[in-house]
Symmetry: C2
Subunit: 435 residues, 2 copies
């Protein structure tokens, strides 16, 4: 990926960063890079994620996947939530076309939606992919139990079409061993939201026939750029700029890809950013947006609302040619000289310029096309940007302690033990206004 931070400069935008401040920040980047480099070298928790391009064994993934797939495979149903779903979904939603097996993600416990999803699947040709590091994630295990029962009730042997990705022990590991299921490891030292380039993110892509090695090569090419200077490394340029803008008031970061196929990528980014940096009362709030659609929804706010936002565009250099037919309506004749891709490009450039003209900071991330290599680079680049930002904020990028309270309360509410958190739920302060 390439990054253009020109529209984040104080010469253009407020909040913005001056070139002098960028030079000073680059010294902090050099220090942070030393820390990151040492963490990678030692395979430390979290930093280890940045080694995945050279560590993930794609042969092992393909061998496991080959045991449960065949030429008639129609769907890959992944049961997982958060980092166990979003990386994989980002990759298949970006790369799948109509001929590939459909990739579906059970990442919610809504009963109506689950039933509707299962009802429409041909279970005989569906591969089941269960992902949970601990093997005890409530949502994932509840969904898995329901899905397994559905297979059994349909007379379809789930043990012949299930692949498991989990930690070294726990209920899912035991299940895999008991039923001799193909299984893969959630890599040590890699938090879920940083695991897209491991088996966690790649099983579904493998089932759909995508080139895992090209994904890793794209990531490795990005890893090559990790140096001590934001001026030489697109990932660090992005991480440092967002940190500096947040400090100057851009508390919100709207991630706005100009490609429908990257809609899920924006969700993946939102998890990466929120869980990694949102702690100690710090952290920029990620907002998921989509070009051009959200020009007709969010642009008014981005351009004329509070000056507390950065908009990050992702733009794809090569798009398909799909000419817009001529029309005899005078007012629309200009469309007939263009393709849909031209219109998309013009809308992107116009929106970017409209924010700059209003002094609103924005950053452009460019990828050549939506393919394995470029996508691998984008995901790796954003992860490295996030790790850098975490160093600059001085937070513990790789933990997410604030979600534990609700997990305990949920378990207590369902009778899974005694938890003070569950008792606190009953003490809710009410001020009800009813129809």
């Amino acid at each position: 990926m390439n990054v253009d931070i020109g529209n984040a400069l104080s010469a253009v935008a407020a909040p913005g960063i001056s070139r002098a401040a960028l030079e000073r920040l680059d010294e902090q980047v050099a220090d942070a890079h030393e820390r990151i480099d040492a963490g990678m070298e030692a395979g430390e928790h979290g930093y280890a994620a940045l080694n995945l391009p050279n560590r993930t064994d794609t042969d092992e993934i393909r061998v496991a996947v080959d045991r449960v797939t065949g030429p008639d495979t129609s769907a890959i149903l992944t049961v997982g939530i958060g980092g166990s779903a979003l990386g994989a979904a980002t990759i298949t939603d970006a790369l799948n076309d109509a001929d590939d097996p459909e990739a579906i993600y059970l990442d919610n416990v809504d009963p109506d939606w689950l039933s509707a999803t299962l009802d429409r699947l041909d279970l005989e040709t569906t591969v089941l992919n269960v992902v949970s590091r601990s093997g005890t994630t409530a949502e994932t295990l509840a969904n898995f139990l329901v899905v397994r029962e559905t297979f059994e009730e349909a007379g379809v042997d789930w043990t012949e079409r299930t692949i498991v990705t989990t930690g070294d022990d726990g209920p899912l590991r035991e299940l895999a061993e008991r039923h001799n299921l193909p299984s893969l490891a959630v890599p040590d030292g890699v938090p879920g939201r940083f695991s897209a380039l491991s088996a966690v993110g790649l099983v579904a892509a493998a089932v759909c026939g995508h080139d895992l090695d090209a994904l890793l090569r794209g990531a490795a090419a990005e890893a090559e750029t990790l140096t001590g200077s934001l001026f030489e490394c697109p990932a660090y340029a992005y991480g440092a700029t967002t940190y500096a803008l947040d400090a100057r008031g851009a508390r919100t970061n709207a991630m706005m890809p100009y490609a429908e196929s990257l809609e899920t990528y924006a969700e993946w980014f939102a998890q990466l950013w929120a869980e990694s940096l949102g702690k100690d009362d710090l952290g920029q709030t990620p907002v998921r947006a989509l070009g051009v659609t959200d020009q007709h929804s969010q642009l008014q706010l981005y351009r004329a609302g509070p000056r507390d936002k950065l908009v990050t565009f992702v733009t794809v250099q090569e798009t398909a040619a799909r000419p817009i037919p001529d029309t005899d309506v005078d007012d629309l004749a200009y469309l007939g000289d263009a393709s849909l891709g031209d219109l998309l490009d013009a809308e992107f450039e116009a929106t970017e310029a409209s924010l700059a003209a209003a002094g609103r900071p924005n950053v452009r991330i460019e990828i050549d096309r939506v393919d394995e290599f470029e996508l691998g680079g984008l995901l790796y680049g954003m992860e490295a940007a996030c790790v850098l930002a975490g160093e600059l904020y001085g937070v513990n990028t790789f933990e997410q302690p604030a979600v534990e309270w609700a997990k305990k309360a949920t378990r207590g509410l369902l009778g899974g033990g005694e938890f003070a958190e569950a008792e606190a739920v009953a003490e809710k302060t009410e001020l009800r206004v009813e129809r």
Copy 2:
């Protein structure tokens, strides 16, 4: 809908609002209500939207829809963007089940995605629904021209299956007259983002067989509650609370329904809030979230990040029973006593309480179930809340002037005339960091 603002009180949360401040705010609400009531009475621009439950002619919509649908209708393809798509999409995504015609929205100009969408449709049984007030919206007209050509190339007569919703004049109105297409009016005085309860939002719902009258009845029941006090009107309680919290530092509003079928509703809300209130450097930034999924993505930030957020939950009182099968894994046995609906409910209550325990403000919106009546009430309630908030902010709720710059620049870039905005695009400040 019912609203519970107990967790937004300063006794619970910071930022929070004291009961005394709420009492004072209620005087402003009374004044604002007078203004709103007078606007509704006079049918003034924007305020007129709140009259739709008593104004929309559902017979007219059904008659128009009957001309293009039949028992074999498999899909309804809506070509529109922003307010011309999101209201309709909210309704069909909430209410459709597997037996209904598929509702698809072409609300982007991505050529790969458009081609993939058209390729998989059975055009012979697809109804086309083109929506644009002006009849000149670039994205909508470009997509329409491509779709029309695709029908023609497939030898399918588009004039027999196209319905148009547009203003009194313009290219789409002329098209409808020339080809004698069934056509409906975008109602006067109703901005797109407030038009869900008019033909703009209801054509697709009618094609999918939903009860338009129940949608309007639900909205009318909510309209009945519009009084001069936030303590008596759920919509005003919500609008006033969000305004007061924004003033106290909750600059972001995360809309988090606990129902997969309401995911699009959160997008609709985000447009309503952003375009209506995002002006004059004011306006709360809407964020789209989804329970329980985003507990594993955004909750860390909401609970431990900056104290600049309100989380708005939408919870559905009745959910389907789908028991979780028993398991012999001790650590998971507690799940076997519950249904997926129980788990969903427990996760919602736990998440709400976890934010309160951390002193983070949140509001609960309750609907009984996801059906026409309740959904109509929810949409109307949020619109009324938004209009009230606009009065309290003192902004022009019903305009969106900041999007014009990019529209002119786009047109200029494509050779549709001379625009200074298009020339500004070329002057971009660059600071590129390349791989």
